[in-house]
């Protein structure tokens, strides 16, 4: 009896529709580091090329005129034509694509029409906001979700289990913007427990030098604890709301992984050996449930890092989701592509990270 037989079979479909399962084993199956490293590199390169091709052609197919987006509705024909040339839209399609890939390889995704900044500069500005929110939300999701899932599994069928499952279900079904507005109305406007929309109060704006763009970190580094407290009071509500969704998912998964583990014979063995129940559950059962949980957490974290558009709008949080959506609505294709590539990188990074963690947690993978 192996403690974690077939945990993968139970990993639910990831939250993003259509993303398919993760390819596991690229690192675990091949012992040669060099070979697997090379394979990884090639796969990343091919993926990027495909990514560029898809975004490029979608960008050309949408019935939106990017020149119009740049020069406005009433520009003269002359101005229009000049901008068309400036954007390179007069070249043959294959040449446009060539330029595009070459620039992207050099890390140049062009200039955003909307903000007139280089896209990378924009992404560097908006991504920390999303990173901050997603990280705090995920931490909340883990800290609350895992114990809740464990307790629900252990007390299966009791009222505690039902309460936890109902709360989890609500997290799935209540619209996030409604929850956000309700939170603002009650906790901010009515009870004054948290700060309102935005990342920080206006008077603290510009007090802290930007090192990382993550205000919580920057203010801590600068030792500006007033700013830090203010930023915390701003982030606590949106992060809790996103964290609620994350915890709903994590607790449900934890519960199901734990139930699977608790049925195993090694648990009975451990109990027979007279180990205290706490050790059996929290060390042995949860210890093995961790392996699939890492994947669940990584996926949920990845989804949050794409940016949660609705939360960002309700809380006026200048993050990646809002940036990409707004760019899309304004036909700002450079920005859409840049943002999409960042999201792609985040997923590659998280996949790598969870693979590494997987190795650490699963002795057979070492």
């Amino acid at each position: 009896m192996t403690p974690d037989s077939k945990p993968e079979a139970q990993i639910p479909a990831p939250q993003i529709p259509g993303t398919g399962g993760r390819r596991r084993g690229a690192l675990t199956a091949t012992p040669q580091w060099a070979a697997s490293g090379l394979r990884l590199l090639i796969s990343v390169a091919v993926t990027f090329l495909g990514l560029l091709a898809v975004t490029f052609f979608i960008g050309r197919v949408v019935p939106i005129d990017p020149v119009l987006a740049a020069v406005g509705d009433r520009a003269s024909a002359d101005t229009y034509e000049r901008m068309r040339e400036e954007l390179g839209l007069n070249l043959p399609l294959w040449q446009q694509f060539g330029h595009y890939v070459w620039n992207a390889v050099r890390g140049d995704f062009g200039t955003s029409v909307l903000t007139s900044n280089p896209v990378l500069t924009d992404v560097r500005r908006v991504f920390p906001a999303t990173l901050e929110l997603a990280t705090v939300a995920t931490i909340i999701g883990i800290i609350v979700g895992i114990p809740a899932g464990v307790i629900a599994a252990v007390r299966r069928g009791t009222w505690i289990d039902h309460v936890i499952r109902v709360i989890g279900l609500m997290g799935y079904s209540v619209p996030v913007f409604w929850l956000g507005l309700m939170g603002l109305l009650i906790l901010y406007a009515k009870l004054d427990l948290v700060a309102g929309p935005g990342r920080i109060d206006l008077y603290y704006e510009g007090l802290v030098p930007t090192y990382t763009g993550v205000i919580l970190l920057d203010s801590a580094i600068a030792g500006e604890w007033d700013v830090f407290r203010n930023a915390v009071s701003h982030i606590v509500l949106p992060a809790s709301i996103l964290g609620y969704f994350s915890l709903a998912y994590i607790s449900r998964m934890t519960r199901s992984f734990m139930l699977e583990q608790l049925r195993q014979e090694y648990i009975t063995t451990a109990r027979v050996k007279g180990l205290p129940e706490r050790t059996v559950i929290w060390r042995h059962a949860l210890g093995n449930a961790w392996v699939p949980l890492v994947t669940v957490i990584a996926l949920s974290y990845g989804t949050l890092l794409e940016g949660s558009v609705l939360t960002e709008i309700v809380f006026s949080w200048p993050g990646l989701g809002f940036y990409i959506t707004n760019s899309l609505l304004n036909a700002d294709m450079n920005a859409v592509l840049g943002g999409t590539v960042v999201v792609g990188c985040v997923f590659i990074g998280l996949n790598l990270l969870s693979d590494l963690l997987y190795r650490k947690l699963d002795p057979r993978a070492r």
């Binding site: 529709p17 898809v54 003269s76 002359d78 409604w178 309102g196 709008i313």
Partner: protein, 552 residues
């Protein structure tokens, strides 16, 4: 390749989210109304500092701060506060144009040469003096850069080649502006009073010039003017912070600082305002306006805005080209019902192409809902049983809602209206290609002069598909040599009273015969906390001043 599919999936997701946002506005409003009914009004404690005004606003459209390039409401509004112009408007009566950087001016007898005397002793934020050279260079720069709003100046016959001769400083305090033919004085001054004609600090800007861009790259995110405020910070999609310029020639502003915060949704704007974390809110939906009207701490102000809300009937469509059909459609809209039930104070009825508040505006509203009359007209046109037609509709409030109401009204006369939803850029692209049947949209004048709208609605010098002038009459394939000529005539009429009369006459005819169903005019609803005053909102987007804002 797995990632590629992930990306495709993500794009779908983004689109779905985008659609959700479209619906969000309405749902949010409903949610907040429901919640406030449940919890009563919001607790209050004013929190903004005394010397800082906080304005919450939708700022996501702000692309550039360069006045020669900005074509967005927010960009033009900021230019009005960061820069000065040769002349500026009296906010209460915009026909009354006053000296700005120019203390006086004169017009030559042939009406083609304007000479401006530059005010003495003015300085830019940098400390450099404001001279006629700066003014001339700023105007030349607009024409040479030739960005979106450049036509406001180049329509005077200015080109990159001739602008250095036509617009010139003869000495440090004299600016000469020559046009290709005589124009109404009021028209020239109105264009020189628009945001695009802001006077820039040439020395400072040219220090940041790169590859002959006239400092455009730098000015996108910076400012070098002489206006009442200096730019402190602009964080796109987050905030703009302005600091008072103490050396302002008309005396320093009352607020030390003005902060514009980007708050995309109406409900959070209202919460911030009620809570005292904002002093002024500017994008409130009807539900929030209703609720705020009951709050004694908040004052509401309604200011008519230039934008006209209309239907464009493409004359390439054989049914819509029949004059009786166009007229019938005007009788088939229940303006009252739409105003009360959908727009609810965010727009008012208006049926002529010049917005109220502009020179030559008229109040006439000949059309109201009359089903019988419409049916008779349709029968006369040979389509008594109705016909099928499509309408391209922006998928946002209130456009989508108004379109649906119209759909129901027209169905009563047998007209089968199919609504094609799309986002702004999509519908606009189709409209500009003249591929629509009916377009429902909004047209805002570019500058505070009747010509901007007359040119839009009643001027089409070339109805061919490859015309250089793709304004509204052209977009609807409406061939109007007579009105085009009269629009040009009114433009050249130097007597302001006569000019006004020409526009009035044109509008009355236009109402009868045009393929435009002009329905409403925008109203800006400004909500302010008690004690806040002096926020000046003019009838056009580039005439909004922060200088006199004060707080008790």
């Amino acid at each position: 390749m797995i990632l590629v599919f992930k990306i495709i999936a993500m794009r779908h997701r983004i689109r779905r989210e985008a659609q959700k946002i479209m619906k969000l506005r309405t749902v949010c409003a409903a949610a907040v109304v429901a919640l406030t009914t449940a919890f009563g009004t919001v607790a209050v404690n004013a929190a903004t500092p005394k010397d800082m005004a906080v304005i919450v606003w939708q700022l996501d459209e702000l692309i550039t701060l360069d006045p020669a390039e900005a074509y967005e409401f927010s960009g033009a509004e900021l230019a009005a506060n960061l820069y000065d112009r040769l002349v500026f408007y009296n906010i209460d009566n915009t026909d009354d144009i006053q000296g700005g950087i120019a203390e006086s001016w004169s017009v030559s007898d042939d009406g083609k040469t304007f000479t401006f005397k530059i005010r003495d002793g003015m300085t830019f934020h940098s400390g450099n003096p404001v001279t006629a050279e700066d003014a001339a260079w700023s105007l030349q720069r607009v024409v040479k850069l030739n960005k979106g709003p450049a036509f406001i100046l180049s329509e005077f016959g200015l080109t990159a080649d001739n602008v250095d001769q036509k617009v010139r400083a003869t000495d440090a305090r004299t600016l000469v502006f020559e046009t290709d033919k005589p124009y109404a004085e009021s028209f020239v001054l109105n264009c020189l009073g628009s945001w695009v004609s802001s006077v820039l600090d040439r020395q400072t800007v040219m220090q940041h010039e790169k590859d002959g861009d006239f400092g455009n790259g730098w000015l996108k995110t910076n400012a070098a003017g002489s206006g009442p405020f200096k730019l402190n910070t602009w964080k796109p999609n987050e905030l703009v912070m302005l600091d008072r310029f103490d050396g302002y020639w008309r005396g320093p502003a009352k607020m030390k600082r003005v902060a514009l915060r980007h708050i995309p949704e109406s409900a959070p704007q209202r919460l911030l305002l009620e809570k005292g974390d904002a002093d002024i809110a500017r994008n409130l939906g009807p539900d929030d306006i209703d609720q705020l009207a009951k709050n004694a701490d908040i004052g509401l102000r309604k200011v008519p805005q230039g934008a006209i809300y209309y239907l464009g009937l493409n004359q390439k469509n054989e049914q819509l080209a029949k004059p009786q059909v166009a007229e019938a459609l005007k009788w088939l809209i229940d303006y009252d019902s739409i105003e009360t039930n959908i727009l609810r104070g965010t727009k008012v009825q208006h049926q002529s192409f010049l917005p109220a508040g502009f020179l030559g505006d008229i109040e006439d509203k000949p059309y109201r809902y009359d089903l019988d009359k419409a049916k008779a007209l349709l029968a006369e046109a040979g389509v008594g049983d109705g016909f099928k037609v499509t309408m391209d509709v922006r998928n946002t409030y209130p456009t989508a809602d108004v379109a649906q109401a119209i759909q129901a009204m027209w169905a009563k006369a047998g007209i089968d209206l199919e609504i094609i939803p799309g986002d702004n850029k999509q519908t606009l692209t189709k409209y500009r290609a003249r591929q629509h049947d009916i377009y429902i949209g909004r047209w805002a004048p570019d500058y505070l002069d009747p010509h901007s709208n007359a040119q839009g609605f009643a001027w089409n010098p070339n109805n061919a598909d490859d015309s250089d002038f793709k304004l509204l009459a052209w977009r609807n394939a409406w061939d109007i040599p007579d009105l085009t000529r009269r629009t040009d005539e009114a433009l050249a009429e130097s007597d302001t009273a006569r000019r006004s009369a020409l526009y009035e006459e044109m509008q009355r005819e236009h109402q009868k015969a045009s393929p435009f169903v002009i329905m409403f005019q925008d109203i800006a609803v400004v909500a302010e906390r008690k004690g806040v005053s002096g926020f000046e909102v003019g009838p056009n987007f580039d005439v909004v001043y922060y200088r006199n804002i004060s707080k008790e």
